[in-house]
Symmetry: C2
Subunit: 248 residues, 2 copies
């Protein structure tokens, strides 16, 4: 298995997507939101790039049947039902609902990698289950770190590094790492005993703290609190059959 | 001083070049070659992107007054005087000569960052002197890691990380690091006691070893063997007055 990671969120070379598993990571906070919302029973999530697109898309559904969630520059969007704090996405609000999600980095990422063979949603919250799915698929892997407004993000790369560490430990000699994958693995090893430290050092983590979202950092630094692996397919994120395990 | 590092070698955002010092790094081997050749007395070096461009440019100079150097995919170029091994660029060959240099990654990098305010040539060979120049200029800094055929390169980032470490140590609280700069610094800290290990783990390092250039890796892993800081200005690399120190 070849493992590469896109450290800066531009459109990947087509050969890095062809017939590959892609794992999209936006730890703070889009993929953590998606994983949490689906673990609370959300039916499907449609990731869009702008708030305008979200409002436009909502018109295609019966009034009241979808919820709009997301943020712009870490703030709430007027007219949206939910922000971008995972803890808002509780069962009472999202169970059996469709969501349309618009965020700064994470939701765009899905569209950049849409030609991948299988596209999974990853964060620390489900990292072990994502590693299992990658091993089962036996395809080469591209991890897509959604980044920070077009730039490298420390927290997404540390999370990608943890996935690489898990796969390298299990796959041993059959796993081949690019220079970028080795970089991510080293970053994970640096922060593995204190993931929150990486969040506190990162630009985006600092911004979230300054806006009063420090509790979100603590929430998003939790490892393996669910086994679900949401999958992006034909513009929509759902739980595939394999994405729901252990009775969840 | 704000310090950023471009981890993947695409054209930087213009705001990252405006009024900034840029340090171009291609440890294996273009910037190591340039620094070594100038320390051996080469007058000036013109970095070009292709072998064809090098042949074309040579026609503008009197026959025999310039040397052509460089490589394609780590191999020599037919018709060129020199390859891309720093140890070839000895005084007997290059003293008081003009060189035209064409390599896979490093020479292209200079053209991508040409709108920077001051553009220095860095590698482990002169890293301390480069740090001094950056501190003297007091401008914000962009380190440009030339990468590996368009991708992230471990060795260039480790070298950029050493420059960041030196500047952060000297500048203390007045130095601000982006997430990417913190990443490079962590990579340097991982390999600081054994730079050769980083070369041996990197894709390009492995390729050079397989082609018989292991001695170049040992050569390029030397720290501070010269104090010269070549500067790229108006398409040409020369030693500026400040670039020659301590009687060199």
């Amino acid at each position: 298995m070849n493992i590469d990671i896109q450290l800066v969120p531009f459109v990947p070379n087509p050969h890095l997507l062809f017939d590959r598993v892609v794992v999209v990571i936006d730890v703070l906070r889009a993929t953590s939101v998606i994983i949490h919302a689906m673990s609370e029973g959300a039916l499907e999530i449609i990731p869009v790039v702008t708030a305008e697109e979200a409002f436009q898309m909502a018109k295609a559904f019966p009034r009241g049947s979808v919820l709009l969630g997301g943020e712009r520059e870490s703030g709430n969007i007027p007219g949206f039902d939910l922000g971008n704090s995972p803890r808002e996405y509780v069962a009472e609000k999202v169970k059996e609902k469709k969501l349309i999600l618009a965020t700064t980095n994470g939701t765009k990422a899905f569209h950049l990698v849409s030609s991948g063979k299988e596209i999974f949603v990853g964060s620390f919250l489900n990292i072990g289950a994502v590693a299992e799915r990658c091993l089962e698929s036996e395809r080469d892997l591209l991890i897509f770190a959604s980044g920070d407004d077009g730039s490298f993000s420390l927290e997404d790369t540390v999370s990608g590094g943890m996935l690489i560490e898990l796969l390298a430990r299990r796959g041993k000699k059959s796993v081949f790492l690019t220079d970028a994958s080795q970089c991510a693995q080293i970053l994970y090893q640096r922060f593995k005993d204190n993931l929150l430290e990486a969040f506190h050092l990162s630009r985006h983590g600092k911004e979230l703290i300054s806006r009063g979202f420090e509790d979100d950092l603590v929430y998003c630094a939790q490892i393996d609190i669910t086994n679900i692996v949401p999958e992006f397919k034909v513009e929509v994120i759902r739980l595939s059959d394999c994405g729901m395990r252990n009775g969840e």
